[in-house]
């Protein structure tokens, strides 16, 4: 399937989901759905670097918070009494995305020479550094946090949360399309070589640093875009919960549970785990949340290391030894001619 039809189909499915939520007639579903969709974006974004390229990023919370604090900065800069909510949310998302993209690129330059656990530690350190900066930056509220009073309603959606939900839905569709596009492109194959063997990739002429930088930039930008509307959603933005490890852990757990090598994995993982968390918050307690993530993660690592996508593939195809979880349509070469021609000359 080409990219544009895929995008349109996702839009239609998203539209149906939106319409279904409307018919339920309770805004709670939009509040809960927003969080799930936010995780679809975050885990898809994480997977571009973590799943395709094999670099584990523990800084999801930081990129997300950067997007959120970009919004707070703009909100604070503009006289809110004179011009209430003059900057539309999509513009805020572009700004938040741009800020996170720049930080992603910078982080890439500084840390992508590190590999494995060292890279993961560096991203974690970056999150801590950024949190400290924000906590000590009074302009955006410092450790007290920042308020954004969201408007009650917005035309033609009715309540504001419906609008936020729709925006996050569009971003989720866009992220999935981007992830799928990368997966089937030369970039995706290049990232796969880096994941499998970085030294061999270099020897084959893959420009490893450049590809990794592209991946961190795209990944960071999407995380920032997911964070930008968050102050409008939450109303009161605090540094500690915004930079919290919850985002990083969830953004890693969801692709791992779904399956890291395709765009479907993070989607399934986020829908499943995100919804489950929302249900548990309402029915049991919000504290059980991360416990559940931990338990599921352990179970999946042991029982289904290739995630739900891997399990499904195994069940449908009965050959798990051959499973890589990636569709191999992007780089097909013509079948070789069987009849041999004398080829004593060098291939040119």
């Amino acid at each position: 399937m080409r990219t544009i039809p895929f995008f349109l189909i996702c839009l239609v499915i998203g539209g149906i989901a939106f319409a279904a939520a409307l018919t339920l007639g309770n805004d709670y579903y939009f509040f809960a759905g927003y969080v799930v969709l936010q995780y679809v974006v975050l885990s898809t974004a994480w997977n571009i670097l973590g799943g395709y390229c094999g670099y584990v990023n523990f800084g999801t919370g930081a990129f997300f918070a950067l997007g959120a604090y970009s919004t707070v900065t703009i909100y604070t800069l503009i006289d809110t009494n004179a011009f209430p909510h003059v900057v539309p949310i999509p513009v805020l998302m572009l700004v938040g995305g741009a800020v996170s993209a720049v930080v992603g690129l910078g982080m890439g330059y500084l840390t992508l020479r590190l590999r494995g656990a060292f890279f993961a530690i560096a991203t974690l350190a970056m999150a801590v550094v950024l949190e400290t900066l924000v906590v000590n930056w009074d302009f955006v509220g410092g450790s007290r946090g920042a308020f954004i009073i969201r408007p009650e309603t917005i035309a033609p959606f009715g309540s504001y949360i419906r609008y936020l939900f729709l925006i996050m839905l569009l971003l989720a569709v866009a992220s999935l399309t981007i992830a799928r596009l990368i997966e089937r492109s030369r970039l995706g194959y290049g990232l796969a070589t880096i994941r499998d063997d970085e030294f061999a990739a270099e020897a084959a002429g893959v420009p490893t640093l450049r590809l990794k930088l592209i991946a961190t930039t795209i990944s960071g930008a999407l995380m920032g875009m997911a964070g930008a509307p968050f102050p409008y959603y939450i109303g009161y933005l605090q540094p500690q919960p915004t930079f919290a490890l919850d985002y990083a852990v969830n953004a890693i757990a969801m692709p791992l549970i779904g399956g890291t090598s395709t765009w479907v994995g993070p989607l399934i993982g986020a829908l499943l785990l995100g919804s489950l968390q929302q249900i548990i918050i309402v029915t049991i307690s919000s504290a059980v949340n991360l416990l559940l993530v931990g338990a599921l993660l352990v179970a999946f690592v042991i029982l289904a290391p290739n995630g739900i996508v891997g399990l499904a593939h195994k069940y449908l195809q009965h050959k798990d030894d051959d499973f890589v979880g990636r569709r191999r349509t992007g780089l097909e070469a013509p079948a070789p001619q069987v009849e041999s021609s004398p080829t004593s000359e060098a291939p040119s």
């Binding site: 030369r186 194959y189 290049g190 796969a192 070589t193 994941r195 499998d196 063997d197 030294f199 061999a200 990739a201 270099e202 020897a203 084959a204 002429g205 893959v206 420009p207 090598s261 030894d321 051959d322 890589v324 191999r328 780089l331 070469a333 013509p334 070789p336 001619q337 041999s340 080829t343 004593s344 000359e345 060098a346 291939p347 040119s348």
Partner: protein, 243 residues
Amino acid sequence: MASSLTIAGIDAAYGAVRVIENVSLEVGNGETVALLGTNGNGKSTLMKCVMGIVRPSTGSIVAEIEGVRHDLTGLTTEEIVDLGIALVPEGRRLFPKLTVEENLLLGAFRRTARAQLARNLEICFETFPRLAERRRQLAGSMSGGEQQMLALGRALMLAPKILLVDEPSVGLAPILVSRTIEAINEMKHRYALTVLMAEQNFNQAIRIADRGYVIVHGKIAFEGRSADELNNNDLIKKFYLGL
């Protein structure tokens, strides 16, 4: 057209650890030159210097490709690959979770190499028919010998002029070592390659080498101007075989 490689007086270090000291060697057009030495003497580092993965602190590395001279020390790895210099890394280093065919296609990641993609793939399958049989299989699931063939095939996909082979015998059963060495020789003649091969396995390497250098503690300890000279030399026995 002539292709050759000239390394003159290079030093290379990892941080404070000096690995290569004042190494000079030459690989003439159409030659197979063996770089002999045991573990930890700087063979792989020298290969990485040629590919621009490790930067020598002094000295020059010049490749002549089809009559044009290129100074490799200022080029990036991608540019060096684009010139037609391919490295078969030590220990094969395949992409284990990709298929045989994908591994081969990724050998031609560079735009210059992709121009003749279909043809090079065909040539590759012809040279190593076993790879054609296993084209849909994951590279990591093949035997060691097959993996080595794939590593060689992947390098062929670049249609290289100069081939660097780093320890092709490592981790292989003796019969497979012998076959791999023969495969390299066959590739060389078939595609008119200029080959620099680092190897520990002295007896296997000199079967196909025209000349050779023995590297000890990062220095060229002995230069053998013919295979015979390498074979019947007391210095070799002392330096290399430890007899």
